[in-house]
């Protein structure tokens, strides 16, 4: 999920009006616990996930864990 270092990302947090920053985020599914770098709002911590990530790598990892 590393390749999500999206420098050209234009999204800002609507509530906090902050630009997003790349930070380690915990993700969980079934028995799996990982840390990945994702973009998030530095203030409210809301994490940004785009369609490529959700339907690509994340889906792949989900399927992999489901078949474990």
């Amino acid at each position: 999920m590393k390749d999500e270092l999206n420098i050209t990302n234009k999204w800002i947090c609507d509530k906090c009006q902050e630009s997003l920053v790349l930070e380690k985020v915990k993700v969980r599914y079934l028995e799996g616990n990982f840390e990945v770098e994702l973009l998030k709002c530095p203030t409210c911590k809301m994490v940004y996930i785009n369609d490529d990530l959700a339907l690509g790598k994340m889906l792949e990892v989900e399927k992999g864990l489901e078949d474990k």
């Binding site: 509530k15 996930i49 989900e62």
Partner: protein, 788 residues
Amino acid sequence: MDLDKLLEIGNECIHSEPPVCVASCPVHMDVIAFTSEIEKGDFAKAYKIMENKIPFSRLIGKICDHPCESKCVRKDVGGSIKISELEKTVIDLGYDAPKKAMLLPKTKGNIAVIGGGLSGIVTAVELDKKGYQVTIYEKSSRLGGSLWDYEGKGLDSSIIEEELLLISKKGISVFFNTEVNEENLQTYIEKYDAIYLGTGYWSKEYDINPDTYQSDIASLFIGGKIQSKNNSVIHCVSSGKRAAVSIDRYITKTSMLASREREGIFETKLNYKIDTVKPIDVVKKTSSIYFENEAKKEAKRCLKCQCNECIDACVHMQRFNVTPDSYIRNINHNERIILGTHSANEMINSCTQCGLCKEVCPVGIGMKDIIHDTRESMVERGKMPLSAHDFALKDMSFSNSDYFSMVRKQPSKEDSKSLFYYPQIAFCGYTRGLYKGSGKTGFLFYPGCQLSATHTDYIGDIYKHLVGAIKDKDAQNDVGLYLGCCGAPADWAGRVDLMPQSVEKILNVWKEMGEPTFILACSSCTSTFEKYLPMIKTVSLWEVFDKYGLPEVAIKKGKKELSIHDACATRHDTQIHKSVRSIVKTLGYSIEELEFSKDKAKCCGYGGLVSCANKEQADDFVNDRITESEQDILVYCAMCKDAIVKGNKRAYHLLDIIYGNEIDQAVPQKMPTLSDRQNNRKRLKKQLLKEIWNEEVKSDLSNTYDFTLNISDEINEIIEKRFILVSDIEQVIHNSIKQKERFFNPETSDYLARLRIQNVTYWVKYEENGSDIVLKDVYSHRMQIVEE
């Protein structure tokens, strides 16, 4: 799950059984591979295939007495394949001098081969290959024995000589002009680890085991003519090969008999059917042997006999390239592994449980029940992938919630008083039916969740018609209505935890209503009731229509020809097949039966929740099905119609023609979306309660929002493909506006919001123009993101 029993079933599968020609060839030359290569024109490969099983194939292939041919199944449809003639041509066109083999150390033991004739030299080279030091004792001055009888009669002396050189090239020592007889045999027995005796004649009769060629002297093995007492070349070769196996086992002290049942000629379980095979005559030779093209043509006549009945009929097996033998081995492995990837999960969730394989299998193997039991076992062990059936199960729980589920008796006579006036009572069957109300629910109309969701507007009419038609002939029995889901999705998903409560619920309603007969309109309901609720008497809506009469609708009689796609779930229900056909004909349509119909019906791809678990596989099913006929398709299951329409083929539900709804040929046919379906169910319940029972659904159960959602066709397609409901999208947007939990893109002015609903996080991208929301994208993931 009893995996050992399962493996036994797998062993019954005859997919890998050899054709009768191979089973009748004493050395089991792979005839199918052989003729296939010839057909392709690859004679070198064909020769390699011969070489694989036939020692000295360059010689033997020319003189084999071919017991295979008399057994070939082609014999009564044009004549047996000329396997031996093909071998001759293959030798001439495909022989390639063997590469110089590396000489391996010969350390496993010392063997004497007595007699350098055919069986002797075969035994010698076979043992040499296995790593033995072999010495041949030959009483004459040359090797080859009876091979020389064919000199000039099939074999050239130069080639015999060339081939026999192999013996010395391999480093096998030969003593010529050395006669061994009964008198001096003992010295050899003492000197060598084992002896092979293949002299063609021997003065003393030994007891010889016909399976191992071992004599009553443990280290003495006897084969060839002494043992077989016949002149068959290929038997002689076979006995030499088998004796070599025995000697190896004897010396390495392994079981002499284990798994050798199928050496030599054996019976294959394959019984290849020739009923539909067109006769093609044997290709005539125009010279002493076949020319290349003649050989190709003759090889093409070979039927490549193999049992492929199920895989030919099933696109699921085709997609995963399995037949039940290998399928079951995969399941076995999947069930047994503790750590590591359950790589068969996807396959197991891609079977529609349609049952066709069992119908076509000559030995009656069916995957349906096996797949069902496997899925249950996966659920029990917590190994069923969550995402595979999640949407369908949520949809099922929606259908069994108050949004849709309801049970009502026929409106009582008392409650219907206001209707009993002229002309209503005279001309409306429904009103008359109410007037005859007995209070005893003899029938309960159960349209099912999918028909109600996709053919919503028929349900009320059908109900009224049933009341009128049934009460007219059977005044005793009122007709009630029950909306809900039969539990088929839980059954397909192997949800042992959900199924009992679903069954229980239906059973209770049945008891409370005084044990009425259920009128079923969905094929999946029919099979679910049969399987889980055998105590409940059921009848199909189509049978009721056929028996009590069709609704009177002013329809222009169709002149069309339709192909009937029978529902796989009702493949054994001949009564349904009959009723449906009778109705179709009554309505003036003609029928073009599909090749796979009635008990051989093919699945539309919805069965087994495959469209939910593996979209591409479901597409295979529908594509396979719709190419079977040019005609528009007639179905009597709502999900079949859904699948076929989505496959871009026109489909009529039986109700469409009963109610005279012609399909507009000019516009593409459309089916309700997943969200539409839930809304339709809600709407149906509300409407029926109001119209028939005069009840108002007090609180509208659905939410209303103060924005309007605009969804383009393109986005709608994405939503459907990703199994997302509009109601969930609305929740995300609502939350994002209220909580300001959303991202904003100043360049495009789009918002992007997320919300976790149950076990899924939904992301919605939209544009906001006042209260107008334009949907730009929707996606979801199951992984949970910890926002901290």
